[in-house]
């Protein structure tokens, strides 16, 4: 997970979900895939879209839309699965589009406001080209949800 002091040194993978921009430090990201066939599994947490076969391993895929309770958009060609390192296993995050891999200037990164956001799933917000990009707290996104 990106620690505040590291910001400016590490690269971030920026992706969009429902027009919003989010990012994860590149160290948390294992790889980025086009969306393969996803096998849904009945009776599991709804935010888990299903599982995919990644070169012989079964990887769960979490829909960021569902996780953030956003309206689900149509699937399109730009959709990607960002494979990240969970606890002891890799987990896929389904996003609308991967925009770029970039560095943030330290002075452009602000800590989360603290009051406004109901869940502290962000470790901060970065400003880049007039856009605000949320830096995700991966562990909380994956493991702390209602």
């Amino acid at each position: 997970m990106a620690v505040a002091s590291d910001i400016g040194k590490v690269q971030f993978v920026v992706f969009s979900v429902n027009q919003q921009l989010y990012s994860l430090s590149i160290e948390e990201v294992v790889e980025i895939l086009r969306v393969p066939a996803i096998t849904s599994i009945p009776g599991i947490n709804e935010m888990i879209e299903g599982v995919i076969n990644l070169r012989g391993s079964i990887i769960p895929v979490v829909s960021i839309h569902k996780r953030f309770e956003l309206p689900i958009s149509e699937r399109n060609k730009k959709n990607r699965i960002v494979i990240v390192q969970g606890k002891n296993e890799n987990i896929g995050l389904m996003v609308d589009e991967v925009r770029m891999v970039t560095k943030f200037e330290e002075e452009n990164v602000e800590p989360p406001p603290g009051l406004k956001v109901d869940e502290d799933i962000f470790t901060g917000f970065a400003k880049l080209n007039e856009q605000v990009i949320g830096i995700l707290h991966l562990e909380k996104v994956l493991y702390e949800h209602s």
Partner: protein
């Protein structure tokens, strides 16, 4: 000796301890029955001695000291100073258990905290006069009379050595007969001795020891050293596979005593003679050399094989799709065909081979039981004969560990509840001694373990009563149960067959857990019992857990895999055979009621538009776990496939009714149905002889590989056809019988190929691209048959096969088993045994038929 890291040998050491404890356990059981058996006593002594030696060399003082006392006791038994009494046997067993404790102490690193004194005291009761090492040494039969004839040179060296205050020792060593690489061990001993002092002479000479052939493992060294006899002895004992060591002190007096028998450099010592005369136990058959492999590494290889299996299914899948799409590129298709076929074969063999490396004889597990049975029998105050068969049956090591508890429980159950007390047995006209048989065997792709006793059997009425009393079932329900169903009630928690609770197997827990455990392993358990005559528990398990055969089905759009071991049969039910009882669907199968589960709905899968479409018939997969049977309604059955079980991972956890996932040929993920959870929830008992029905059904449905010869179509039982290969280069055989076309090299084996055209007196025809060789299994050696074209796998039933009219044109020399009339064609089913016989393979050149 050079300093080296002992921890590297810890694993080996612990294995050895296990092994020796195992030997002690089983041999002492023998000793208890036959206290006079000298070879048993020798075995026991040697095991204790090995334990002492190896723990000493690893530096585990407590263990060394304790085993030393144990060895002393055995030594007394061996020298007939101590009689084998039940009390002694009990104390020895306690001691063996204590060594286990010491071993655990080593594992946990708290060996130093264990107090060996109480156990030493117990042993010392049999051994009041405590001896120290030196005295034991002196008490041994050797009176330091040296056995070697020394030449003058050696004598002089020894004398001058003695003058300098050295010890002169004659060290005679015999390696055990089974020892591998005797010459290496001899050199090892030689090197060790060289470090301890100076070797003045060696018999046979070092050069001779070095040569591997002819060296029998007996050697004598004359050593000058500053170390004591005891130190040298311990040093030698660190080397494994030594059968016997004897060290004699050489003095100026005894050196010259030896005048006789110049020609024989080695004379056997007393003890050795004893050993020679009484060959050690029943010498085991030749054991292939083995390699110990790290389980993790094996696991990794296993996973890779799993990947290969998946790739292979993908290839086959692609091949199939290409074949559908494009028939123009026939050449390429055929190559692909060949490659996929060959790959399948290689992978199957690789997979089997891999699996076999993980296979261990169940002996490992079984060997623990005699001891346990003995102790339990004693506690229960009964008399029992315990017989084990099929120890050599192999199964996956993970299963061996897992199946241990259920077997122990069932054995205890038999001892405690099954077998009657001796007096009662006598009164009933049975032998006083009860008999318990534990049997393991392979049956097809399963292992079957049965525990049979000749005790009082299970009384279904009593079980019913207990179940009613406990409120497990109502009286109404009980009345409906037949005897077998009632018996299965013992798998419900809290129901016991015992009238009174004992501390062996009582308290009413157990059988339900046994069943749960077996279900977890994808196994089945069955009971068969006759009042007064005995009870048999039968456990059926898959051979391995990593890769299983499964039935692929569709629930809606989704593919699911059902472990084949749970599938009893697949039936189709007409709509009118499906009824609703208490809002639950049941099927009527052969007059019995089978609860049905619409898995698609249960899993909450897309109730799409096609579901609304009324079906006339439903596919029903009858699955069973232990005593319960249910029918799962599937939309489609796809077929059997080997699947690699993959976990869904901790993030997803264990969703209901799903046991894991697997990867299909097209790379998609299919889910594995957790049959046990579905059955547990929905099942009712149906203990009708489902296996019989299955067998009947299997007999009824037949599969044939069909092929063309000229204009006719023939079929051969699919079980007989081992492989189908395209025609490779063929070697003609000189003076061959007329049907023999030649031989081909099939994966390194020579395969004779018979031309069926010739056999059937058809006109010879040159081979085409479609020509194939069907490899047929035939006792020791396979035979290939050249056919014009392989057409399909034909599924048909016996009822559709007609007997050939006798005397018809088809039926020359009984080659035809039957004729299957299909819609638009006729397939002649061949009797391959007759064909094979008529070929008379004995006429083939010997090197062909004597395949390895």
């Amino acid at each position: 000796m050079a300093d080296f890291d002992l921890s590297a040998y810890l694993g080996v050491f612990l294995d050895e301890v296990d092994e020796q404890l195992q030997i002690l356990d089983s041999e002492i059981l023998v000793l208890e029955q036959h206290p006079e058996k000298i070879e048993t006593i020798q075995n026991i002594f040697r095991a204790a001695h090995t334990l002492k030696g190896s723990s000493a060399s690893m530096g585990f003082e407590q263990m060394k000291e304790f085993t030393h006392y144990l060895e002393n006791v055995f030594d007394q038994v061996r020298n007939q100073k101590l009689a084998v009494t039940p009390k002694l046997v009990n104390v020895i067993f306690e001691s063996i258990d204590f060594i286990q404790v010491l071993k655990d102490g080593i594992l946990n690193g708290n060996l130093d905290e264990i107090n060996i004194q109480p156990y030493v005291d117990k042993l010392n009761e049999f051994h009041p006069q405590e001896m120290n090492d030196e005295e034991i040494q002196n008490a041994k039969p050797s009176k330091d009379q040296i056995i070697t004839e020394l030449d003058d040179y050696t004598k002089n060296v020894v004398i001058s050595g003695l003058a300098f205050g050295h010890n002169a020792l004659e060290v005679s060593i015999k390696l055990s007969n089974e020892a591998l690489m005797k010459n290496v061990r001899a050199l090892l001993i030689h090197n060790n001795l060289k470090e301890a002092g100076e070797i003045v002479a060696a018999f046979p000479s070092i050069d001779e020891m070095e040569k591997s052939e002819g060296f029998e493992g007996e050697m004598i060294f004359i050593l000058l050293t500053m170390q004591t006899k005891q130190e040298i002895l311990e040093m030698i004992n660190q080397i494994s596979d030594i059968k016997h060591v004897n060290i004699n002190q050489i003095t100026e007096e005894n050196m010259n005593l030896h005048q006789k028998e110049l020609a024989v450099p080695i004379q056997k010592t007393q003890l050795e003679q004893v050993l020679e005369e009484k060959p050690v136990g029943n010498q085991k058959a030749k054991i292939n050399p083995t390699v110990r492999v790290d389980v993790d590494k094996l696991e990794h290889l296993m996973n890779l094989v799993g990947e290969l299996v998946i790739d292979q299914t993908r290839l086959v899948d692609v091949r199939g799709r290409l074949a559908d799409r494009d028939t123009r590129q026939e050449d390429d298709m055929e190559t692909l065909d060949e490659v996929t076929n060959h790959l399948s074969r290689v992978i199957t063999e690789l997979q089997e081979g891999m699996m076999k490396t993980r296979m261990l004889p169940i002996e490992q597990l079984f060997n623990r039981f005699p001891r346990m049975v003995r102790d339990t029998t004693q506690k229960a105050n009964k008399e029992i004969d315990f017989v084990m068969t099929g120890k050599e049956t192999e199964l996956d090591r993970t299963l061996i560990e897992e199946i241990s508890d259920p077997i122990i429980h069932l054995l205890r159950n038999s001892i405690d509840h099954g077998i009657e007390p001796a007096d009662e047995r006598e009164r009933l006209g049975k032998s006083r001694k009860g008999k318990i048989e534990l049997r393991a065997a392979h049956e097809e792709n399963h292992i079957v373990i049965s525990i049979r006793d000749d005790g009082k059997g299970i009384d279904p009425d009593k079980i019913k009563q207990t179940a009613i009393n406990k409120g497990t079932i109502s009286e109404e329900e009980a009345a409906k149960l037949d005897d077998k169903e009632a018996m299965f009630l013992i798998f419900k928690s809290g129901i016991s067959t015992a009238e009174k609770i004992t501390d062996i197997s009582g308290r009413g827990v157990g059988m339900d857990i046994v069943r749960a455990h077996i279900e977890k392993l994808n196994g089945l358990i069955d009971i068969d019992s006759t009042i007064g005559a005995g009870t048999t528990f039968t456990i059926k398990l898959p051979l391995t857990l990593a890769i299983i055969s499964s039935l692929l089905v569709k629930f809606g759009q989704k593919t699911f895999a059902i472990p084949l071991v749970n599938v009893l049969e697949i039936i189709r039910l007409n709509k009118e055979d499906i009824q609703t009882i208490k809002e639950k669907e049941v099927g009527l199968v052969r007059g019995r009621v089978l609860p049905l589960v619409r898995m698609k709905e249960k899993l909450g899968l897309d109730p799409s538009e096609e579901a609304a479409e009324e079906k006339k018939r439903e596919f029903v997969i009858v699955v069973g776990i232990a005593d319960k049977r249910i029918g799962i309604i599937a939309d489609k059955t796809i077929g059997n496939q080997e699947i690699v079980i993959k976990s869904l991972g901790p993030y997803i956890g264990s969703p209901p009714y799903i046991a894991g996932a697997t990867i299909m040929g097209d790379g998609s993920v299919a889910l594995i149905l957790d049959v046990s959870s579905v059955v547990r929830e929905q099942g009712t008992q149906d203990t009708e002889t489902a296996t019989d029905n299955k067998r009947k059904e299997l007999e009824d449905e037949r599969q044939f590989v069909t092929f063309k010869l000229d204009t006719e179509e023939y079929g051969i039982d699919i079980q007989r056809a081992k492989d189908i290969v395209s025609v490779p280069a063929m070697t003609k055989v000189v003076n061959a019988p007329k049907d023999l076309l030649g031989i081909i090299n099939l994966r390194g084996k020579m395969l004779p190929v018979i031309d069926l055209r010739r056999k059937f007196n058809l006109q010879e025809q040159s081979q085409t691209k479609k020509s194939r060789i069907i490899v047929v299994e035939n006792n020791q050696h396979d035979v290939g048959f050249l056919v014009d074209e392989v057409t399909q796998v034909l599924k048909t039933t016996n009822s559709l096969i007609e007997q050939p009219p006798s005397g018809s044109q088809y039926n020359h020399s009984n080659l035809i088993k039957g004729i299957s009339k299909l819609e638009d064609r006729v397939v002649i089913i061949l009797e391959f045994n007759e064909i094979l016989q008529s070929i008379n393979l004995q006429d083939l050149p010997a090197e062909l038929v004597s395949q390895p």
